[in-house]
């Protein structure tokens, strides 16, 4: 069970990232807990400067733009 957070104030790219992760996890049958963080103070606490950012189990694995599908597949 992976705990995944998508950091972003709510722009289109953040929603696309969320959807992509959800899709890939479903396709791979991975069990995840997906969460969207929109609060700026929380986003900043991860030290991410360009959104959307992706955090898996407390570690920032991606920042800035929608990640490539291949990169997302590598996470599961």
């Amino acid at each position: 069970m992976k705990n995944i957070k998508v950091l972003g104030p709510g722009c289109a790219n953040c929603k696309n990232t969320l959807k992509l992760i959800d899709e890939v996890a479903r396709a791979k049958g991975a069990e995840i807990h997906l969460e969207k963080i929109e609060d700026l103070q929380q986003i900043m606490s991860y030290g991410v400067m360009s959104t959307p950012g992706v955090v898996i189990d407390g570690k920032v694995v991606h920042a800035g733009g929608v990640p490539a599908r291949a990169k997302v597949e590598g996470w599961f």
Partner: protein
């Protein structure tokens, strides 16, 4: 898992052949712009002397030209972006003093990937790594205003001189505004939680090394992203521009936005631009047509800068980190800078 992908990445060779082919096709297409537009008119049985013929020719010449230039420049910027991440820019700016720092920040604003939706995280990220407030503002003003889409369109529609002037003056506004804000010592007008994050520990930069194949991929992705988003605006803009080109009487704009217009037409243009939130792509083709009808370039460029650099939605986002006096100062200083640019353009050209 990660070693496997690393080997995967190493073994991919950069698509140099495709790049050369694409470049040649680009040159060939650019060289045949006028013949194509001429034959399009001829095929439709129109003559350039008629209103309709002139409008259609404008459309068939300008659309491919602008799209070609845009694709070329956006691709190059996509590749350049892989060299300058926001994290790297921040590391280069942290601890810089006013002056040198502002010049550097404004210049880096052109080449660092920037999306207005991450303006706030970027702002805080810079401050928390010891980038001075004024230097941060120089970056924040230059990044959206002097962007590759605006430059590509100016280049395509007005030539390299105007594009160059816009670049230089846009940088000038960003540098000057950042220095003024820095001198005013407005740190106390940051929201409290942001001030708490301000520190002087310099940022360290750990970048991942990309291979050329991936940089080229990034260029292609950038083209798909930007050109894919912007082309309908360009088509609509050029369509509207074509209508103005063919049908609006010559010198129609001269009395409203021309050089002989009253002094207040420039501030009025800047004011009108603030609540408008658009990208350069939709406005510029219309602007070009208006200038053909006698509008002054300075007034029109000031309008454009104001639309891009001073947008109401962005200020609402910034309100989360800045208190009102600082937002007002920011808007005021940038507006004055844009006004100066407009008057200078009108005087010089």
């Amino acid at each position: 898992m990660s070693t496997l992908t690393d080997i995967d990445r190493m073994s991919r060779r950069p698509p140099w052949g495709w790049l050369v082919l694409g470049f040649a096709a680009w040159i060939a297409a650019y060289a045949s712009l006028i013949p194509v537009a001429d034959s399009a008119i001829a095929a439709l049985g129109l003559a350039r002397e008629t209103h309709l013929g002139e409008a259609v020719h404008f459309f068939f010449y300008d659309t491919p030209k602008v799209l070609l230039l845009l694709t070329g420049i956006v691709f190059l910027m996509g590749v350049v972006h892989t060299f300058v991440s926001p994290e790297r820019t921040r590391a280069m700016l942290s601890g810089r003093r006013l002056g040198v720092g502002n010049v550097l920040a404004a210049s880096l604003g052109i080449v660092t990937p920037f999306c207005s939706c991450s303006a706030v995280p970027l702002f805080i990220g810079f401050l928390s790594a010891g980038v001075p407030l004024g230097v941060t503002f120089s970056f924040l003003i230059s990044a959206p205003m002097v962007n590759e889409v605006a430059l590509a369109l100016l280049f395509g529609l007005f030539g390299w001189k105007v594009a160059g002037l816009y670049l230089a003056l846009g940088l000038g506004v960003a540098i000057m505004a950042g220095m003024v804000i820095g001198r005013l010592g407005m740190e106390r007008h940051l929201e409290d939680w942001v001030r708490a994050m301000q520190s002087t520990t310099p940022a360290e930069y750990v970048g991942d090394t990309l291979h050329w194949a991936e940089r080229v991929d990034a260029g292609v992705a950038h083209v798909k992203d930007i050109v894919g988003k912007v082309w309908p605006y360009i088509l609509a803009g050029i369509g509207l521009g074509a209508g103005i080109h063919g049908y609006v009487p010559q010198d129609f704009m001269a009395s409203i936005m021309g050089r002989d217009a009253p002094w207040w037409s420039l501030p009025a243009a800047v004011l009108i631009g603030v609540p408008m939130y658009s990208n350069a792509a939709g406005i510029l083709p219309v602007v070009e047509a208006l200038i053909g009808k006698g509008a002054a370039l300075g007034t029109v460029l000031a309008f454009m800068m104001s639309v891009i650099a001073l947008s109401l939605p962005e200020m609402i986002i910034l309100r989360k980190v800045l208190k009102l006096p600082l937002i007002a100062t920011f808007a005021g200083v940038v507006a004055v800078g844009i006004l100066l640019v407009g008057y200078v353009f009108n005087l010089v050209l």
